[in-house]
Symmetry: none
Subunit: 139 residues, 4 copies
């Protein structure tokens, strides 16, 4: 019998680097964003709201990260592809807790393991997704 199993969890050092990279990208494309990072257990790890990022981004960034960690798929297109042909899922998905169907949340995989998730909000969701991509690329 195995008494325990291993988890891999995003380090704070990596999390803050991802936030910095996302903020830089946001400045470059002219938006102000909030970035939330949760660990593999959905516990908040790091969070950074740029000055003047829209108020909606404070809760939405965390919700996107929680959506992505929930099933290990991104909060926008991936979740949408998963549900779009099934009328029950299409409606029922919104009943999940801590769920938002909107681009800008992504799981963080390192060496094939789901170690956390990132959620970004502040611009159009396509801009948020660009910032997510930049953040993931630094890993």
């Amino acid at each position: 019998m195995e008494n325990t199993f291993e988890k891999r969890s995003i380090s704070y050092e990596s999390a803050i680097k991802m936030i910095n990279a996302a903020h830089e990208k946001a400045k470059e494309i002219g938006v102000t964003i909030t970035v939330a990072i949760v660990d593999e257990s959905g516990v908040q790890k790091a969070f950074g709201r740029m000055d003047n990022a829209p108020l909606i981004s404070v809760k939405a960034s965390l919700k996107k990260a929680l959506t992505a960690i929930g099933f290990g798929i991104s909060s926008g297109q991936e979740w949408f592809n998963f549900i779009k042909e099934d009328p029950i899922m299409r409606e029922g998905v919104h009943d999940f807790d801590d769920f938002i169907l909107l681009g800008g949340g992504s799981p963080i995989f390192i060496e094939g393991k789901l170690v956390g998730a990132i959620g970004i909000s502040g611009g159009h969701y396509k801009q948020d997704e660009e910032c997510v991509k930049t953040a993931l690329n630094i890993l």
Copy 2:
């Protein structure tokens, strides 16, 4: 290093004048309404429920104000224009916290700054919007 940045916040004096103006308009067009005003950070600033305003208006007025402050656009037509062509946003927008897609919530801009938001509920949303317009005009 800049340690702080400036925000401008709606004054109580202006907020209560907006409520009074909205109530007057409501009497003129024959509806009873509730008016909620939040500051630039979404914190409740002033609130006034006319006698016999429908019960739904108590929470809906605040929710409309919070929707408007979240992204700085009105809770009805402006939000709808933002999402109407995109099937994911069309569904996902309802997953935001403190969000209602319904006319009667508007950001309050003074000298180009987002200083708060107003939400009105009680009549048909087109009547609510008329009262919002009247309230914004006194500034």
Copy 3:
């Protein structure tokens, strides 16, 4: 009529420097902590959980920051001094929302203005307070 009034809000740049300074201090004294920073309106601004910081620190750090921003006094000794002689306050204070009577939360004043608050949790509250002091000193 004054339509608006000014607020000053802690910048993200300062907030993240405070978190870094607190983390450094924590390493020096041998604890792992979480640091939460809220703005002048109690909205989360920045957050950083060191790897292996105790789980209790995730919510406690935010609660300490919210306690400090609520009335502009620290969550430990200052609040205790305010209530200790009054039997009603002594009990009733725990009924406040977002309140914790425990050292490690402090208002952030810059040029005499309350611009935000910091909350730290992870060690004994006296260690948390040391880290708070270090963070405040970088401003």
Copy 4:
């Protein structure tokens, strides 16, 4: 059989006059307060936060009003007298929803009927109580 019974409910006109009177008193004694008024059913009727009133006052004012309407007695000394000799009540009272044991909340009686309640927060609770008294006196 009586199918219905009568309620008497605080009018908006009276509620806003109470808020104005409380704000005036607050200015006189040098504090900034928030005033919340609920009707006989605990539904928010009117609300006014003075510029720069402490953040804690936003939720605490409403909680004091709800405490006062809950049983028709004030949130401070009256509730305390009711519970102080009974060890079970002394502890259990804090488990009520929407309850705070702290001066500054008072029922509003008109012609012997409980028609609403007022809650004030922002100063020391003794200052809040002064403002409550002033507000009640205008009726």
